[in-house]
């Protein structure tokens, strides 16, 4: 990160939390839309907003179709956008396998709705600057970070 970027961030620091319900596929995208709105209001360029919202949307869909529900913590920091998706289980059996493009355990419900291609985690990894995934049968936590500077407003 270029140190000059840290001097005067031209955006506000924003903290938000969202709840995602299990199998609520009709509302999937709500967190992505809110994220998009916040970043737009703060004046970020569209390619940066797109990168973030793609990651958020994929993670949101994962919580909806795979988990028992969960919450999302959004933080717009001085030099990055950070999101943590924490769900209530059932967890991912094999994380490395889950990250492989094309691998999917999606239900027929998810597939009928156009999801379950096994592309979610690879897509998030591709758009974010860092993605971290931990899981047990108690739940899964997925965090992602998008650095402002490479293509953000301060560069």
């Amino acid at each position: 990160m270029n140190p000059s970027l840290k001097k005067t961030p031209s955006h506000a620091r924003i903290h938000k939390e969202f709840i995602i319900e299990r199998n609520d596929i009709a509302n999937a995208g709500t967190v992505a839309s809110s994220t998009k709105r916040i970043l737009k209001n703060e004046g970020f360029p569209s390619h940066f907003i797109k990168r973030v919202t793609i990651g958020v949307y994929e993670a949101e869909i994962n919580v909806v179709i795979h988990s028992y529900g969960g919450k999302v913590i959004f933080d717009l920091n001085d030099d990055n956008v950070s999101l943590v998706f924490a769900d209530k289980g059932p967890g991912i059996e094999d994380i490395e396998l889950a990250k492989a493009a094309g691998f999917s355990t999606a239900s027929s419900y998810a597939i009928e709705n156009g999801f379950g291609a096994g592309m979610g985690l690879p897509n998030i990894e591709a758009v974010s600057d860092e993605m971290h995934l931990t899981s047990s049968n108690e739940g899964t936590t997925l965090s992602m970070r998008f650095d402002i500077g490479d293509d953000g407003i301060d560069s």
């Binding site: 009709a26 949307y57 709705n113 156009g114 999801f115 592309m119 690879p122």
Partner: protein
């Protein structure tokens, strides 16, 4: 040749099923898929999506990626809530009796 959404309507059997403010958007390229994560991963801004899927999530993805429009193939019955949401998003939705492959063939022959 630069194609617009309007030109497509004139040249292949497509029915506009909602009321977007504009149909003069230009099309970057065609993107055919029935898996939304695939669309999210590979489609680009101003692409036109050709799909048999017709659920509300298609609109979420189309809006996220700022697609030029969506063509539903095999004449599906598109629910009113989808049409309403597409109007709000100002996203042109089309229905066609053609298959996905036939739509692609027809559009390719225009270029």
């Amino acid at each position: 040749m630069v194609l617009t959404v309007k030109q497509l309507m004139e040249d292949i059997p497509l029915t506009l099923i909602n009321e977007p403010k504009t149909i003069s958007k230009t099309i970057n390229k065609l993107f055919a898929s029935d898996l939304l994560s695939h669309v999210i991963g590979y489609a680009e801004e101003n692409d036109i999506l050709i799909t048999v899927l017709n659920n509300i999530n298609v609109l979420g993805v189309a809006s996220l990626l700022e697609l030029s429009g969506v063509i539903f193939t095999h004449n599906p019955n598109v629910k009113p809530d989808i049409i309403k949401r597409a109007n709000k998003l100002d996203l042109p939705l089309f229905s066609t009796p053609l298959s996905t492959a036939e739509v692609i063939k027809k559009i390719a022959s225009l270029e």
